[in-house]
């Protein structure tokens, strides 16, 4: 029995109030909020955050990592390798990108459910469009991760009952690489294509699962075409269609089926049947049934908790973060690109946030050192100290309004880790006025800056979001 062993959804901290769009532009926007990836996030870093949540709930080592996004940080270079490094997966674990299309998120999940070995599927997206457009307002940013495997790999919390796929070539939504906006054909055309495809795939999936529509407790339904999704919603004949998180998060594209499924799994009881129906250049359907193991499953940080705990970002800042408006940078030299060879030598530190601890003194060294600051430790008398999942508290902090930053000011804190150890570290997802001594923080994988096309990834600290009290 193959299925989902663990999962995690990631919703970034910032929200754009849709009404703020019309407040500035005179039109556009709407009601509610959408999630916004911070200036120091991209699909890779959000994928890391979702994957960390998934892996921390299972303790199973994946043998493959698949990453899907319609907004890859790099082309040519694999993005999944940075996620692989941040998760400290074994080098024998393959890491692949599923590139480009919104459909690749649910496609990767279905492929993993139908293949062998424990596989970590990660999907992330940053959705936007030109100011005042529907995509800008209704899109959302986020990520989801699923560890998929069989009973031999770990307790399966949702087993796969059946799948179906329907494919047809028609140009409904399209985007050229590098373009800030997505084109869309006249809406009623797409509706005529998606309707029959959905009916066909739905029937086939129910058949392969050996159940009827009435046996489905909830359908996770999403897609790239709003009208078609609405129409299909009325035709499935299921007891309930899942909350699409449109009011608070928006449509997170490639990540959305996973984010909605994670949200449902976090609220589901054992023995429930969940269908996932995704409309994107055709239709994908998965049918899952939760198992008794779900009762014992504890998410590290639920989607609902993240949705409930966000903070607003102004529309002006949102536009800056999305490169829609350029602002005057500080008169400081821009940062230089990291050295690939230096970064490779420091891979465990830079991507995995692994320091070293003196075997005699217990003194934590960040970055890892060969020579201890405590005399009792021998040369190289150090053990690796993975610190990414260790909580910390702010000892003191400062606000730097002089230093170069994509989004000044820089909030910087000296933090002490639980169990000993200290690091001066930049804070993120924080309002300068709200920082205080003693505040609980946790580490988060971020994009510090980009120079000469090379993205500099490293860790920052953020106010604790985990209900586990990291």
């Amino acid at each position: 029995m193959r299925g989902i062993i663990s999962f995690g959804g990631y919703v970034p901290y910032r929200r754009l109030n849709r009404a703020a769009i019309a407040g500035v532009m005179g039109r556009g926007g709407g009601r509610g909020t959408r999630s916004v990836a911070s200036y120091d996030e991209d699909t890779t870093t959000m994928g890391v955050e979702a994957a960390r949540l998934a892996l921390r709930s299972s303790g199973v080592d994946p043998r493959a990592l698949w990453f899907a996004t319609a907004d890859p940080a790099y082309l040519e270079k694999t993005n999944a390798t940075a996620i692989h490094a941040a998760l400290r997966l074994d080098s024998s674990t393959g890491a692949l990108d599923f590139g480009g299309a919104v459909r690749s998120g649910v496609g990767a999940l279905r492929t993993a459910l139908e293949s062998g070995g424990p596989t970590l599927v990660v999907a992330a997206d940053i959705r936007g469009g030109l100011p005042t457009g529907a995509d800008e307002a209704n899109g959302g940013d986020g990520a989801a991760a699923f560890l998929v495997g069989g009973e031999g790999d770990g307790p399966v919390v949702a087993e796969l009952l059946g799948t179906a796929s329907a494919t047809e070539e028609f140009v409904d939504r399209w985007r050229q690489p590098g373009s800030p906006s997505t084109g869309q054909w006249e809406e009623r055309f797409g509706e005529t294509r998606y309707g029959p495809l959905a009916a066909q795939a739905w029937k086939e999936a129910l058949g392969s699962a050996g159940i009827g529509a009435g046996d489905v407790d909830v359908a996770v339904l999403t897609g790239a075409h709003g009208r078609a999704v609405k129409r299909v919603s009325g035709q499935l004949g299921v007891a309930r269609v899942a909350d699409d998180l449109a009011a608070a998060v928006g449509n997170t594209g490639t990540a959305h089926p996973g984010l909605l499924l994670a949200n449902e799994l976090e609220q589901a009881e054992p023995g429930q049947t969940i269908a996932v129906v995704v409309l994107a250049d055709g239709v994908e359907v998965l049918i899952l049934r939760t198992t008794e193991a779900l009762a014992a499953y504890r998410p590290v940080l639920s989607v609902a908790d993240q949705v409930a705990n966000g903070a607003e970002v102004s529309y002006a800042t949102f536009l800056q973060w999305r490169d829609m408006i350029q602002v005057q940078p500080p008169n400081r030299p821009e940062p230089t690109r990291p050295s690939s060879s230096a970064a490779a030598r420091a891979q465990d530190w830079k991507y995995g946030f692994v320091g070293s601890r003196g075997t005699e003194s217990g003194m934590l060294h960040l970055p890892p050192a060969r020579v201890s600051i405590r005399p009792e430790d021998e040369l190289d008398g150090m053990a690796p100290a993975p610190m990414a999942d260790v909580g910390a508290a702010v000892v003191t902090f400062t606000i730097d309004r002089l230093v170069y930053s994509v989004s000044p000011p820089v909030v910087f804190a000296v933090v002490d880790f639980d169990g000993g150890g200290r690091l001066p570290v930049e804070l993120t997802d924080v309002d300068p006025e709200a920082v205080r001594i003693g505040q609980r923080v946790e580490m988060t994988f971020r994009r510090l800056y980009e120079a000469e096309g090379i993205i500099n990834y490293f860790w920052k600290a953020r106010p604790a979001r985990s209900s586990s009290g990291l």
């Binding site: 030598r345 934590l364 000892v395 400062t398 606000i399 930049e426």
Partner: protein
């Protein structure tokens, strides 16, 4: 294994210092020529009389060629040294050891920085190749961590402490206003400084050192030769240097209210010079006031007052030019300006003037009871710094 020092073995026989300011009309070469010419003239020697040179610059040039080319030094050794903001002092330290060893008879230490050609505000050192994980924070922000830490440790109100460090800037501006070589010649009240916008923690731009171009130079010989050149040389009593482990950044016991590297360098210098109580032995000190909280903490690190009391002594006027322990009588980094590689030698230049009674009527400190001076010059940040301390005096013994 010990730091023995070279007390009274080496003497400074001449010094020169350019004006520190935004020298839009002078390049690195001009500044080096001006400072060295002034030092040659001060010592009464020609450039060919100097056997070896130590050039300190943080980022205005590489190698000894930076000096030997503009000065057209023929067949002379020139060593370029760099040690963060203590670069100029490091040049003097190396030149002094060179003559003390007997390797050379006459050596020059010269420091220079041409900062204002970068096109950017502030100090910006070109980074070495890196893995991208170094913290992104200005020095001002790192030093701003001192204020809340000190306030918490010693139970001082943060607003009051903010005013205390502004008083340090006010004093240094007052001193700089009298100094024709200083970058800033205007007085600035502590109240005005407190009203300015914060740029790093609670620090304003006027809590930071002045960003200036400049150069300063010293010529040293063995002490027994000094009187061949002049009747009033300045003797080196101590030269100490501590380069830290960087442990303060990761040590949970470090609390940002002291700079252990400076305390250690001070203690070593006092040992070398045979000083038990610096407050009663020293007539003055030039210290590294890169940011106003730095000067406050240094008063305790260098033993000028007890831990937790410097803020009171600042308010009591102890460190004013006419106070019990004059600090930064030339205006310090704050008002004299901070061309990185030159600053350490500029500090020695002020001692050179003051201890020999040459500072001028309006600036001259009282030497009736004490005649030693201390120079403290650091580079780096709280938790990871290098620190230099020297002690100078007009007499042997």
């Amino acid at each position: 294994m010990a730091s023995h020092g070279i007390k009274d073995q080496v003497a400074i026989i001449g010094m020169g210092c350019t004006q520190f300011r935004e020298h839009w009309d002078k390049g690195t070469d001009d500044l080096l020529i001006d400072a060295s010419s002034a030092a040659f003239a001060s010592a009464g020697v020609a450039k060919d009389d100097v056997d070896a040179f130590w050039l300190g610059t943080a980022s205005s040039g590489m190698s000894g060629l930076t000096l030997s080319q503009p000065l057209k030094l023929e067949g002379k050794p020139v060593t370029r040294v760099e040690n963060f903001c203590a670069t100029g002092s490091e040049a003097l330290r190396q030149a002094s050891y060179a003559v003390a060893s007997g390797a050379y008879d006459v050596a020059m230490a010269i420091g220079v920085e041409k900062i204002k050609d970068s096109g950017y505000q502030g100090l910006n050192a070109p980074p070495a190749a890196h893995d991208g994980t170094k913290r992104n924070l200005t020095a001002a922000a790192m030093y701003s961590l001192v204020l809340p830490a000190y306030a918490a440790r010693y139970g001082v109100d943060e607003d009051e402490l903010r005013m205390v460090v502004a008083k340090i800037a006010e004093k240094n501006h007052r001193n700089g206003a009298l100094n024709p070589l200083a970058q800033f010649r205007r007085e600035m009240s502590a109240e005005k400084i407190c009203e300015m916008a914060a740029v790093a923690g609670r620090l304003s731009v006027f809590d930071c050192s002045g960003v200036a171009d400049g150069s300063a130079a010293a010529i040293v010989v063995r002490a027994e030769d000094a009187h061949q050149y002049r009747d009033d040389p300045l003797y080196i009593k101590a030269l100490s240097f501590v380069s830290g482990t960087g442990g303060g950044l990761i040590d949970p016991d470090y609390d940002y209210t002291a700079f252990p590297e400076c305390e250690m360098a001070g203690a070593d210098a006092y040992r070398q010079a045979g000083i038990d109580d610096p407050r009663s032995a020293l007539a003055m000190a030039e210290v590294h006031d890169c940011f106003t909280p730095t000067e406050m903490v240094l008063m305790e690190d260098l033993g000028f007052c007890e831990r937790g009391t410097a803020w009171k002594e600042v308010l009591a006027g102890t460190f004013e030019r006419n106070g019990d322990m004059p600090i930064n009588t030339d205006g310090g980094l704050k008002a004299f300006g901070h061309p990185v590689g030159a600053s350490g030698l500029r500090m020695h230049y002020e001692c050179w003037l003051q201890l020999r009674g040459q500072a001028g009527d309006d600036r001259q400190i009282d030497l009736s009871t004490r005649n030693l001076a201390l120079v403290h010059n650091l580079g780096g940040y709280p938790g990871e710094m290098v620190s230099f301390v020297s002690i100078l005096g007009p007499e042997v013994g």
